[in-house]
Amino acid sequence: MLASERKSLVIDLDAAAATVRDGMTIAIGGFINSSHPMALVRQIIRRGVKNLTVVGAASGGLDLDLLIAAGCVKKLVTTYMGGEHYCPVAPFFRVAAQRGELDIFECDEGMFYCALRAAAQRLPSTPWKAGIGTSFPQINPEIKVYNDPVSGEPMLAIPAIKPAIALIYAAQSDAYGNVQHVSTGFGDRAMWRAADKTIAQVERIVPNEEIRKNPLATSLVGVDAVVRAPYGSHPFAGPGYYIEDSDHIREYVAAGNAYAKSGDRKPFEQYLKKYILDPPTYEDYLEVVGIKRLLQLHEY
């Protein structure tokens, strides 16, 4: 008997979201207002998952703020929480941090990638020099100062952070988990290398022949599961497909600011109901956003 069938790794959105359970450490790819697996993020919120340690992108953004707002996050690992010109500091993050309700692994991009690299290399920590003389070792007690045994100079040991699951957004994959980004893929490869398992949420699932046309473009060589969700980074950008939805991001920021400035959570509750809790399926979410809006988000 010869083997002949290769197993498809394609699963549906809810099956993918169901792998994320209370208390897990998960990574979420992308960068500020681009390339977040938002179909999965919204489904995790719908499922009411709690107490997550979320390794956000370096830099993260409003995708993580939404998870905080929805009550899913216990601890956050990221270097930046804002929306660039849409909002200087993410609103729910700001309030939760100021109240001491959120554990934060305070780090910068260099330290962030050290933590993921250590996990990928199965090391307890990796060294980093930038940060000596700063407040980071005081405000993040997981980061230790030590003297390098070779040179004697002070160094920082950045502890490994190992996500159980990395959720990555990319342009396309075949059914066998050969994932190709459009553009650079930001820091997604580092999450994929560090995580026990990776789920790629993609715009298109393409034939294996399509992948073989340009194997150098395969950015994640084998993930564990693939989920198809066209427009799946909305309201953030999907490189090669659409730019971010400025009006939608402003709607979210306005709801967040109402809470941050006057404690009024109603606008956010309305946002949550309209876009996340009420639409029974992913396709219904896209219908609530509207085809006219989606088609206006072209890159050209």
């Binding site: 305070e106 260099g110 000596i132 700063t134 980071f136 650079t184 930001f186």
Partner: protein, 263 residues
Amino acid sequence: MTPEPNFTVKELMASFISHQVRDGERVAVGAGLHVPRAGILLAHLLRCPNVRLYVVMTFTSLLKEPRMEPFYTVYDNRPTKWAEGYVLHDDFQEDPRLVSDTFVVGALQIDKFGNSNLIGVGKDYKHLQFRGPGAVGTLSMAHYVDRYYLFVQSHDKRIFVDKCDFISTVGWGEGGADGRSKLGIPGNGPVYCVTPLCVFDFDETSKRMRLKSLHPGVTVEQVIENTGFEVIVPANVPTTAAPTDDELETLRGRIDVEGMLRR
């Protein structure tokens, strides 16, 4: 009466920053700050044809591009149409100097030795009065680059403080010309701090902030009143050089087409 200048203070700051870029360098165009972004591009288009620009994680040269559009965010995929090559974000640690020779750092607070804070304001980290956005890549970039510049969009005593509540990026540490080397930190540290009122440099011996130039119409008293530490004021403080007609034409016609620096 002196006539109203024909430029905005943002255009003036962009012009000043443009003169800090050296031809042939690698220069990262970072997140969020429109003025430094415009300044770096201005340098490239007018004086530095051999700069390698790091834009949206790609390297490029933009000399032949008539207009830098769209170009306001660090994540927008559209500028990658110009890419000549990638240095992936997670490969940054392989050689931080591959990304940039110089950098611009923004801040919530800056102290007299140029140490800066993007973490938050307040004495208790667990209960901050104002939580900031976080350090982004500023700390590692500022550590490894040849030199960097501090830039703020407003100038008051909340920003310029005697002591930062938290330090996310080291300037001259506790001060002194060896303020960095005794911590084992490479590079030449912060060179200038650019504000809407003035430019500061650092005294060679103490590495304390010193008034280098005043923007047109600004007085020494205004700077002193709005700075929360004692500023070194030399006997003669020149006026910051105005942007030239060439600079304004290139800024408005090719870089800041949408007029973000004119608002």
